[in-house]
């Protein structure tokens, strides 16, 4: 596969992006295992299959930029550079979790890493993210608020209110639709009328585009284009990512709404494998170099697992802390 690299990333940079994608993949596979073993409870929504989206966007991010997303957030907080140990310990509900074990899979935050969650109500993160963009503009900060939403949220009323406000007040917001084709078990064909999802924002005067979300290079190019547009015009922008989740909506999803054939077909364009192939074939990176990275990540995940299981449960007195500041 001949992949373009219009953004002139160095091989080292590309390897870093690959490393992040591989980390998310292995982290999520471990999370699935731990869920199966009863070590992770509740809802657990895995990011497997969508890694090119978050890392492609990451390649365009200024470290000061802020990010907010919904409940499928493990990949996002890892991409933002939060220690995977703290993330896994949150999944296992332990004292050392990033939210001290009080948030869980869907509720993780890190101000230091400019990650604002981690929100469990479909669509609710979109006005919040627009508000973060409002704060950037209010303070004359040269930051962009990056707001992720799923295809399901694109039929939620407050999302349109947020589009209107972002465009009306010319806020520095990049909306990223992760269209993985299903809102839980309902396909977009059964939930969304009309044409492309991103076009629903264009009626508010928001420019946008649709991109192959399985391809890191396409995502990255589009994200950089979006950043330049927002910086130049001080207006929001929207990208629809054509992507797919290889696992169920959550760990308790039997997946009866789609065929095995469909899933297997999508796995042929696995974003992590495609990235790896490109690095090997088009960038002539040595296989050993990649193998070293992969084995380091696998080792790291073992440590992450150990940490997340050894960290103690939260103190019982934590029940009543942090209700008020």
């Amino acid at each position: 596969m001949n992949k373009k690299n219009k953004n002139n990333f160095t091989n080292d940079q590309l390897l870093k992006f690959y490393e992040k994608m591989f980390l998310i993949r292995k982290f999520e596979e471990k999370a699935a295992q731990l869920y199966g073993a009863g070590k992770i409870g509740g809802f657990c929504h895995l990011y497997i299959g969508q890694e090119a989206v978050v890392i492609g966007i990451l390649s365009s991010i200024n470290s000061e930029d802020t990010v907010i997303t919904a409940y499928r957030d493990h990949g996002h907080i890892l991409a933002r550079g939060v220690d995977p140990k703290l993330v896994m310990a949150e999944l296992t509900g332990r004292k050392d979790g990033i939210s001290k074990g009080k948030g869980g899979s869907m509720h993780m935050f890190s101000k230091a890493n400019r990650f604002y969650g981690g929100h469990g109500i479909v669509g609710a993160q979109v006005p919040l993210g627009v508000g973060i963009g409002f704060a950037h503009k209010y303070r004359n900060e040269k930051k962009i608020s990056r707001v992720y939403l799923g295809d399901g949220a694109m039929s939620n009323g407050q999302v349109f209110e947020a589009f209107n406000l972002a465009s009306l007040w010319e806020l520095p917001v990049l909306f990223i639709i992760e269209n993985n084709k299903y809102g839980m078990g309902t396909s977009i064909g059964r939930s969304a009328a009309g044409g492309e999802l991103y076009e629903r924002a264009t009626v508010f005067g928001i420019k946008g585009e649709k991109v192959d979300g399985m391809n890191f290079f396409d995502v990255s190019e589009s994200a950089i284009r979006a950043r330049e547009y927002i910086e130049k015009n001080s207006k929001p922008y929207i990208i629809e990512m054509d992507t797919y989740r290889f696992r169920g909506h959550s760990m308790s999803d039997p997946g009866l709404y789609r065929t095995k054939d469909e899933v297997n077909k999508m796995k042929e364009i696995d974003p992590v494998l495609m990235m790896k192939e490109t690095l090997l074939n088009d960038y002539k990176i040595q296989e050993d170099t990649i193998k070293d990275i992969e084995s380091d990540i696998k080792k790291q995940i073992k440590d992450v697992e150990k940490f997340s299981l050894e960290s103690p449960l939260p103190d019982l007195k934590e029940l009543y802390t942090e209700v008020y500041l």
Partner: protein, 456 residues
Amino acid sequence: MKILLPALSPTMETGNLVKWLVKEGDSVVSGDILAEIETDKATMELESPDDGKVEKILVKEGTENISVNTEIALLKVDGEEIEEITEKPIEKSPQVSSNDSEPLSSEVNISMNSLLNQSKENSGGKNWSEKEISMREALNQAIEEEMKLDKDVFLLGEEVAEYDGAYKVTQGLLDKFGSKRVLDTPISEHGFTGLAIGAAMAGLKPICEFMTFNFSMQAIDQIVNSAAKSLYMSGGEINVPIVFRGPNGAAARVGAQHSQCFISWFSHIPGLIVIAPSNARDAKGLLKSSIRNPNPVVFLEHELLYKEKTNVPEENDFLIPIGKGNLIKEGKDVTIIGFSMTVQRILNALPSIEKLGISPDIIDLRSIKPLDEELIYNSVKKTNRAVIVEDGFGSTSFGSHLSYLIQSNCFDFLDSEIIKVSGKDVPMPYAENLEKLALPNTDEIVSAVKKVSYIN
């Protein structure tokens, strides 16, 4: 034809004649502007109801506090005989039975102002420079002072800027702070509330106005799930320093969808602070404290109290602490607990209660969550009796919870059942008599006091 001072808003009782735009002898056609009238909310134009000639101006411009339905001018309508002009008496709307007529305390003998002056708690041990102003002005002052002190504070909501506020609370703030800090929003509560919460997560301190709290229902998911819970579920990482404010409860005959008290709803939620002031002084001190508070605060005002005046300190550092109630009248026989508008209802009932020889402790809670439990229990332990007055629906209400708290904390001290006087469990009716019946009234409060005192 008589020109009467019209009611130009649901709560208008009097108006000021700012300016006549016609003089005696002028010919006018229907729709011509005759005068400018200042209401409790805005300055409005009075139009001529018919074609004719201005016969006589009866009320001079500059006159204040003219009652609604006062004759202010005579119009000679073409074809109408002069005799007819004075023939018709002013038609009065049928009066609701006198017992149900509930004047605010300023119109009865007990004034909120005198009670506040006596109240030790309110002086805070300091000699403030005070001025008598309305709650509307007090809220406006609080916002202005805090916006001057902290550039992270901004105000958004429907009609808060160019329109000067639907209830005039935000009057003049756009001119003072500009459109970057005073923002008119689209009619889009779910969206702008979420936006305001997001801005607060990123460190700003929004004041999010709901034109009335009825409209906050459009945004209740954002208030409950995003504002109230974020601090906890982020393990202390994300706080939401925001104030949601606006009028709450029943105003005057605005019907079921615009007349609901949401105190029970918001006070149910851990993570929210809930405030409900009864007077101008508390409103200012508590709103300032709310804006400075790092948590989400639901600040419930009452439209009928906006025009009520008390002495209010003018100093920047005048604050009333959140979580402190106020014993506004000290007695010994029964504890009567209210907040917001119900404090006025209790004061209206006070003369009848005192006539029975009963001297009550009257507690104005001011802060619903957190609740000043110590003040309540100390009073009930002294009086051994408690009556709770709330405007909200009675079932599953804040008052029900408060009565549970009192019985579980003061069980051995109680000499009687606790009675709560609540709003009736019906959507608010429009008709004047039914609306009055739906809200707690003097008779119900007096009966409750008699019952807990075993007086027939």
